[in-house]
């Protein structure tokens, strides 16, 4: 049974110099829940190296606790808190992590939030992670978002979206959007030795 922590004690312990204290804290973070996500994300972005790693693990612990069967209200609260972290004020590295968290527990609320990120289809820093997140959400709204994205995306992102649609069982025009997975692109400068 994980010990119950308060938000304040979780944040204090995550920032401890003692790795065992940090670890015990992130392991118990699930019980603290959604309210801890924003301050933990701050530590992921700006904390010392090992503190940031512990904070990230605490966030994942919260997500996976809320994702358990029968935890719908906790899941919704965690999803909302994560969606808030998709805003442009959050560093891209944290947004990418948040997108993967949402890929596990997100619903159509997540899909809608991703669609509303300004310039998402052009944003090379996060769009591929966003595409993966939407691809993983098993709803029709997610498939619609991918299809709409394909229509509106710049050329250099279309094939990724087309492939995401195929992964979701949607037929996509092969002539217009070919699958390039078997096309080699990377040359070496190493020469054969006789």
């Amino acid at each position: 049974m994980e010990p119950k922590l308060t938000l304040q004690s979780l944040l204090e312990k995550i920032q401890s110099d003692d790795p065992d204290v940090r670890t015990a804290a992130w392991l118990a973070a699930g019980s603290v829940g959604a309210s801890a996500l924003k301050p933990l994300a701050e530590l992921v972005a700006h904390g010392e190296l090992e503190v940031g790693r512990a904070a990230k693990r605490a966030m994942w612990r919260i997500v996976r606790t809320a994702g358990a069967p029968g935890q719908e209200s906790a899941r919704r609260a965690v999803e909302n808190a994560l969606v808030d972290l998709l805003s442009e004020s959050t560093p891209d590295g944290v947004r990418r992590e948040v997108l993967w968290m949402l890929s596990e527990i997100g619903s159509d609320e997540t899909v809608a939030a991703i669609r509303q990120i300004p310039g998402i289809l052009e944003n090379k820093a996060i769009r591929e992670d966003a595409r993966c997140c939407v691809q993983r959400i098993p709803t029709r709204a997610a498939v619609r978002a991918l299809a709409d994205g394909l229509e509106a995306a710049p050329e250099d992102f279309q094939l990724a979206l087309a492939q995401a649609l195929r992964a979701r069982g949607v037929e996509v025009d092969k002539a217009k959007y070919p699958c390039v997975k078997l096309v080699p692109t990377k040359e070496t400068s190493v020469k054969p030795v006789k």
Binding site: R53, E104, D129, C132, R136, K181, T185, V190, K194
Partner: protein, 457 residues
């Protein structure tokens, strides 16, 4: 394009191989004319098999060396090498004279003169490269574990079935001489019906280096190293070799050695093609560092019809020494000394127990198993000619390899499900027939991990 040459395989070597194939359930005559064996897409006994090596790092070079006897007999020739690290590629080009070096494995798949590939890349590439190679109709030897997600394992089986290629996953414990003895011992019911396989292993390491992210070294194509994994800044603690200690790329000890020790159990108990119904796991994570696989771990797999369980426990080296001390061996007997006593399994049956140490390239079984003389009428089991050789029999005859992808995927599933139950911290219910996790939507989503374009299944 390389010209295709016929090569005369020494008759004794070929007959030995063909005879071994005939010892299996596959109906193969003792002497097989090349024209019979050379079915569409399959080379005859006298034809040399051209091989491309995808990945030329530590273990992959070992695989190249293990093919040495086959090369010496003229059964195959290594004609291409590939690595995303230019320094490694340069070394490989020197070690494999005449082979064409590539950074991108897809050039190898495009070459029609190449019949087979050996995949020795980090685990997160296995599923994608296997499926791509099968789609390009290459026979495949793929290092274990077969893959990292349950979606990949399913896709790999489907790709191999669709194209009819011969596949071998590198859980070579099945092919070891003493594995044959243990298999025979268990099949003949010497300890009765086995109800518990108790696997043990020493811990995964902790990264105490506090290494920050940095720019990748100039020789490394970081994008291609990541492949299907999501993009992130380079950190040298992801590679080489140590990828093993990250859940997404290596999966820790359970996906590394579990793919050996549990492979032996599934094979010896005739459980290939089945799966557990429940998986429970607890573990101790590393207390710092980049790596996240469990240091200590307890996993229980419950099987039904027949009912048995398998446990996987990562414990301290002291506990292993106390509970599973290696048997005294002189080193002069076949199999030599036990050089890997830190992992293995105990088989608990109705009438007693038996155990082995190792389970990969080194597999040592208890003295009573080694000394057991089969009585008249005892059942015999398949004796592998060696893991690589068994693959070549599969390539030439169509015989299902001893660790065909169907079996390899099943074992990988065990490792993956164990880690999944560990990271989620809850019991999982698995339906092997539908390849689904039941009544847990988050876990079910984690069956797949969307892959970065264009490095996808």
């Amino acid at each position: 394009m390389m010209s295709r040459r016929l090569h005369e395989v020494p008759r004794r070597a070929f007959l030995k191989t063909a005879g071994l194939a005939a010892g299996t359930a596959v109906a193969a005559p003792h002497v097989i004319p090349a024209k019979v064996l050379a079915a569409p897409g399959r080379k005859g006994a006298n034809e040399r098999i051209y091989v491309g090596h995808i990945g030329m790092g530590g273990r992959a070079r070992g695989l190249y060396r293990e093919m040495g006897p086959l090369r010496e007999r003229g059964e195959c020739q290594s004609v291409a090498v590939c690595d995303v690290d230019e320094k490694r590629l340069e070394r490989a080009a020197k070690e494999v004279p005449g082979a064409v070096p590539y950074r991108d494995y897809r050039y190898i798949l495009q070459r029609e003169d190449i019949d087979a590939v050996v995949i020795g890349t980090p685990d997160h590439w296995h599923g994608v490269q296997f499926v791509h190679a099968a789609e390009c109709r290459k026979h495949i030897y793929c290092e274990k574990p077969a893959c990292c997600t349950l979606e990949e394992s399913k896709a790999m089986i489907e790709a191999a079935r669709k194209t009819g290629i011969a596949s071998q996953i590198g859980s070579q414990g099945r092919s070891q001489p003493e594995a044959y003895l243990m298999h025979r011992y268990l099949v003949n019911g010497v300890i009765g019906k086995v109800h518990w396989v108790e696997c043990f292993h020493y811990p995964s390491p902790v990264d105490t280096s506090h290494t920050p992210d940095s720019d990748p070294p100039p020789e490394l194509d970081w994008d291609l190293w990541l492949g299907p994994l999501r993009s992130r800044p380079y950190n040298r603690r992801y590679l080489h070799g140590v990828f093993r200690w990250l859940l997404e790329s290596g999966g820790g000890q359970i996906r590394d050695r579990g793919a050996h020790v549990m492979s032996c159990a599934m094979y010896w108990l005739g459980a290939d093609g089945t799966g557990p119904v429940e998986i429970e796991a607890t573990g101790t994570p590393p207390n710092q560092g980049l790596w996240d696989s469990a240091v200590l771990m307890n996993v229980t797999y419950t099987f039904k019809n027949p009912d048995w369980k398998m446990t996987w426990t990562q414990m301290s080296n002291e506990e292993i020494k106390r509970r599973f001390p290696p048997e005294e061996r002189t080193g002069d007997e076949p199999g030599g000394r036990i050089t890997r006593p830190g992992y293995g399994a105990v088989y608990h049956g109705e009438h007693g127990t038996c155990m082995h140490w190792g389970g990969d390239g080194g597999t040592w079984v208890e003295k009573k198993v080694r000394q057991w003389e089969p009585p008249a009428g005892a059942k015999d089991v398949y004796r592998s000619p060696g893991h690589m050789e068994d693959w070549f029999v599969g390539i030439r005859t169509g015989k299902k390899c001893i660790m065909d992808i169907e079996w390899g995927a099943g074992v990988a599933n065990l490792c993956i499900l164990g880690n999944l139950a560990y990271v989620l911290g809850r019991k999982l219910r698995w339906d092997h027939a539908s390849w689904q996790i039941l009544d847990d939507e988050e876990a079910q989503r984690m069956i797949s991990r969307p892959q970065r374009h264009p490095y996808h299944l």
